[in-house]
Symmetry: C2
Subunit: 284 residues, 2 copies
């Protein structure tokens, strides 16, 4: 038998966006890219979209200055081992883990992420809200179009803060097979590529969406995508709206609500579930 | 927070064919189809191709007559909750679990399955061998063809004991996208459908294969498929072979060896790994 290393983990998801959570309060865990890929491998390992390492912020030299503001830091890694700044569904699952494991007691908890400090709120109904920050639509992203299956739509470019191309369709089936990314023209409007969201309006402040995530393919849910969609929908559907608005956004993996505050912050609220705890037998 | 039920589990795989293993020696676990689907769901649950319930044979009225021959019974369920007779990769993982947990001590262990009694052997190198029984090629399956992308091949029909259509190709890329099942004509040759294996000969008694599993799509590995391929390859490549032959079969998820004994039994040998143990938090 090959040698293995025992690594405690928790698995959780938010609207089907799933994570292996690794408690590492002292910041001693040094996982290789290959080990992260193994943990996220759905057939040969545990299986997840990404890893959430839970570290006390004071133990991360690069972010230690935030230690008084955010006791815990969410070190998020994509399934391929690469570093990502922020993940909205991941932040909800991270907050759920902090509450469920008794590491925090206040309902409002600020966490550190590579994308900055984020406030999370445990709501009375068990859902979790994350302040995702604001969004904007730079002029450089205007007038691009997205093409699928002979159709084309004007895209609303949204930076949230990663780039999104949001298109409003009559029927989500028009998005076709989202395995490959739908082409955007001119490509120069999105020099770093984009997540592409297809949105269908279901009712007043209620939309459904499908998403192609840059470099991944179609996914069950994308937190920044839901925020970009709510932001774009408000501006398209009720350009004169003032004050706070809340959009219900149905994603393939469930439902989230996105509230845009009077000051422009996007608060995403949705479920976060822990589904297992255990010990991974990491190949030596 | 919703109520949850704590259910201990182990996760393991054989050449990427993965399973949630549930220890239930007394046969008291009564999981609903929805609970099995949740356990196998790769985003909302634990994630696996299927479930292996480990029950003492004496506690299963339907199979209790085997209790003296096989102490443990492998109750295999597909990810959709349906019952399957046998799973070769699952049998290796099941045997690994019995050895690793100390439930058995002999290297040779007979297990009960809905497909009959199966002998497993823990080899000195850690690999596990399963006696998969014999195979045959009924006349009713002769002269069918499989078509992909404008090409067509004659299929060798193999019952092992589920139906397989084996085609020999010059290049595995000819199998194309195996998400949908390649059409077989006449369909009447395979009234229950078939797994379709594409085989490329790499050398003496060494082949590589890709497989479309009936009702599933392309998979990383298929135990009965590897056996059907080795059986068909021997008859095609060395029709006059006598005595025991061993074929190396490379599947997308790894490598297995299939030995055909002088009496026609197919012994499949390959890896079986346990990757995690833990507690699932089953939704109430």
């Amino acid at each position: 038998m090959a040698m293995t290393r025992e690594l405690p983990f928790v698995k959780g998801h938010g609207t089907g966006n799933d994570f292996v959570i690794l408690a590492d309060p002292e910041g001693r865990l040094d996982l290789s890219e290959a080990q992260i890929q193994w943990l996220c491998d759905r057939h040969f390992g545990i299986g997840a979209d990404g890893i959430l390492r839970v570290v006390r912020t004071e133990h991360l030299p690069e972010f230690a200055e935030w230690a008084d503001l955010a006791e815990y830091f969410m070190d998020y890694r994509n399934g391929d081992g690469s570093i990502a700044e922020m993940c909205g569904n991941g932040a909800r699952v991270f907050a759920r883990y902090l509450h469920a494991s008794g590491l925090v007691t206040d309902s409002e908890v600020v966490i550190g992420t590579r994308g900055g400090l984020r406030t999370t709120i445990l709501n009375a109904d068990g859902s979790i809200t994350v302040d995702m920050g604001g969004a904007s639509s730079p002029a450089s992203m205007a007038e691009a179009v997205v093409r699928v299956g002979g159709r084309q739509w004007e895209a609303t470019g949204v930076v949230a803060p990663n780039p999104h191309a949001v298109v409003f369709v009559e029927d989500l089936d028009h998005a076709g097979d989202l395995l490959a990314g739908p082409p955007i023209e001119p490509a120069s409007a999105y020099p770093d590529g984009a997540n592409v969201e297809f949105v269908h309006v279901l009712g007043s402040r209620h939309v459904e969406m499908r998403v192609h995530e840059r470099g991944v393919g179609e996914t069950l849910s994308c937190g920044t995508g839901a925020c970009a969609v709510a932001w774009a929908a408000r501006r398209r559907l009720e350009p004169d709206a003032e004050g706070e608005t809340t959009y219900r956004v149905d994603v393939p993996g469930g439902t989230v609500e996105v509230t845009e505050t009077a000051t422009g912050s996007l608060l995403m609220t949705g479920p976060a579930e822990l589904v297992a705890r255990g010990t991974a037998l990491l190949p030596g």
